[in-house]
């Protein structure tokens, strides 16, 4: 978690201009880009067919809990935006397009992980109903506090989620890199998963940008709101990786 903050945040703080945000993003994905080339080389087919390595118990555990926590997180995101909608849009109709756009992206993320959970036969989080209630409560209560608080909620959530996806991507890259180093092939299952995670991570960071553009920092008291929400996110991630 802390590593994420040092990757994503300082670049943002140093420069407020939009082009710097893309710099921050590319900084955090530098190893990702390298491995993308490496893995596309492996899949685009050398003449000798390479073997694939069986997954270790540890790797399967990691993948199970990663897909599970991502599903819970995206469920929560959908519900947060759904709950925030009416109170915010009543007072700020001009945000309709933005809120709808972010909601639709979350809905697509949620669908993506639902499919992956089913396909790879991972069980969903047993606390699914609890996440539903908490996310709706969080979305609704920050929305009634006003636009700034709602955006601070998005800022806090997306910061944690973005960092969380980055951590997953890094672990996957290590896995894939290890296979390549040992002369094994990396199949589409993992290159696809990596590109899916990268795409979703980038979209989460866009949400973070939108929140900052819409005065998330003006929420009072910003430090308390984001602090509490981010601690809550970390707790929820910790729990749904396990339960």
């Amino acid at each position: 978690m802390f590593a994420t903050r040092t990757i994503a945040r300082p670049a943002r703080r140093l420069c407020a201009a939009p082009q710097c945000l893309s710099l921050a993003r590319s900084l955090s994905t530098t190893p990702a880009i390298k491995a993308q080339h490496a893995s596309s080389d492996a899949t685009s087919g050398t003449s000798t067919p390479k073997k694939r390595k069986p997954l270790t118990q540890e790797q399967r555990d990691f993948l199970s809990s990663a897909l599970r926590v991502n599903q819970s997180g995206e469920l929560a995101a959908v519900l947060i935006y759904t709950a925030q909608g009416p109170p915010i849009l009543r007072k700020h109709p001009h945000l309709r397009t933005l809120m709808a756009h972010m909601h639709d992206q979350e809905a697509e993320h949620f669908k993506t992980f639902n499919k992956l959970i089913h396909k790879h036969r991972v069980r969903p989080s047993a606390l699914y109903p609890l996440w539903s209630v908490m996310a709706t409560g969080l979305g609704w209560s920050t929305a009634v506090m006003g636009r700034e608080a709602a955006m601070a909620c998005t800022e806090a959530v997306e910061t944690e989620i973005g960092g969380h996806y980055n951590a997953q991507i890094r672990t996957l890259l290590e896995m894939v890199g290890q296979w390549e180093a040992e002369g094994y092939e990396v199949g589409a299952e993992f290159t696809d998963l990596l590109s899916t995670l990268r795409r979703i991570r980038d979209e989460e960071l866009e949400h973070l940008d939108h929140a900052l553009e819409n005065d998330a920092k003006a929420a009072e008291p910003h430090w308390l709101l984001t602090g509490v929400i981010r601690a809550g996110c970390r707790g929820a991630i910790w729990v749904s990786e396990r339960v």
Partner: protein, 262 residues
């Protein structure tokens, strides 16, 4: 058996591609009961639940179960058939329970192939519910040859040290049936569906141990009644996404639809 070595190799080949059961010891929470590990389509599966020698003995011993039950006697016969008369006691620590597990696991794994045969036919059941019923029935029929020995087996499975693994295998069977039936729901109905089917399966199996009707027609009727009950009571079968209706989100939507401005 004329050629134990090649028989063993064939057995190993038949066991290898199948999925393993979860390796970690089970605890009492529902989430560990339903522990599932990422299933890869790109990578070779992890090693099966039984070693090569173990598989050879168990497969041979399984043929003696109708006559001798899930017992040490069947295992001894099996070891002899597999050409390994001396080492059987040391390989199979849990003896009869391992033989029971062999039955549970191999019959569960056989369902995948059965479902392919069943569901490509023209008269295949259309909906998920119908497929669940058909697969559950198939699995029950796989008990046919050993059903007269099954009450003894249940007594072994009910011993405290074997209960966690027995329940885990039951959960794995329910999961397999819902997956093969094509159910894609990954909301909390995932849990209720598996729990409900586990209950239906267990009670029907118990009924089957006392059923002497031809072709187990009474068991078939019993199964249909239980599944109908489940459908009428909770709608756990076939009702996808119902659980979301219990969330606060739905609560808010209801209030909003009633004109409450939240």
């Amino acid at each position: 058996m004329a050629c134990p070595t090649s028989a063993r190799a064939a057995l190993r080949a038949s066991i290898r591609p199948l999925q393993t059961v979860a390796a970690s010891p089970s605890t009492s929470t529902s989430s560990s009961l339903y522990r599932r590990h990422y299933h890869s389509y790109d990578h070779p599966p992890p090693p099966g639940p039984f070693g090569a020698t173990e598989s050879a003995i168990l497969a041979a011993a399984y043929k003696h179960v109708p006559e001798h039950g899930f017992t040490q006697t069947a295992l001894t016969h099996g070891a002899r058939d597999a050409g390994l008369p001396d080492i059987s006691p040391s390989v199979l620590t849990n003896g009869p329970f391992t033989l029971i597990k062999y039955h549970l696991i191999t019959q569960r794994q056989a369902l995948a192939e059965r479902s392919r045969q069943l569901f490509e036919r023209d008269d295949a059941p259309a909906g998920v519910g119908g497929k669940v019923a058909a697969l559950t029935w198939e699995r029950l029929l796989a008990n046919k040859d050993i059903i007269h020995r099954w009450q003894e087996a249940l007594a072994v499975m009910a011993q405290p040290s074997y209960v966690p693994e027995s329940i885990k295998e039951l959960a794995a069977l329910s999961d397999e049936i819902w997956f093969l039936a094509g159910d894609t729901a990954v909301d909390p109905s995932w849990y209720t569906k598996r729990a409900t089917l586990s209950m239906v399966y267990t009670t029907t199996e118990l009924f089957m141990t006392n059923d002497h009707s031809p072709d187990y027609v009474e068991t078939g009727k019993f199964l249909t009644r239980r599944l109908d009950e489940v459908k009428s009571v909770g709608g756990a079968l076939g009702n996808i996404g119902q659980w979301v209706g219990f969330t606060a989100n739905a609560g808010i939507n209801i209030l909003r639809s009633k004109g409450v401005r939240i």
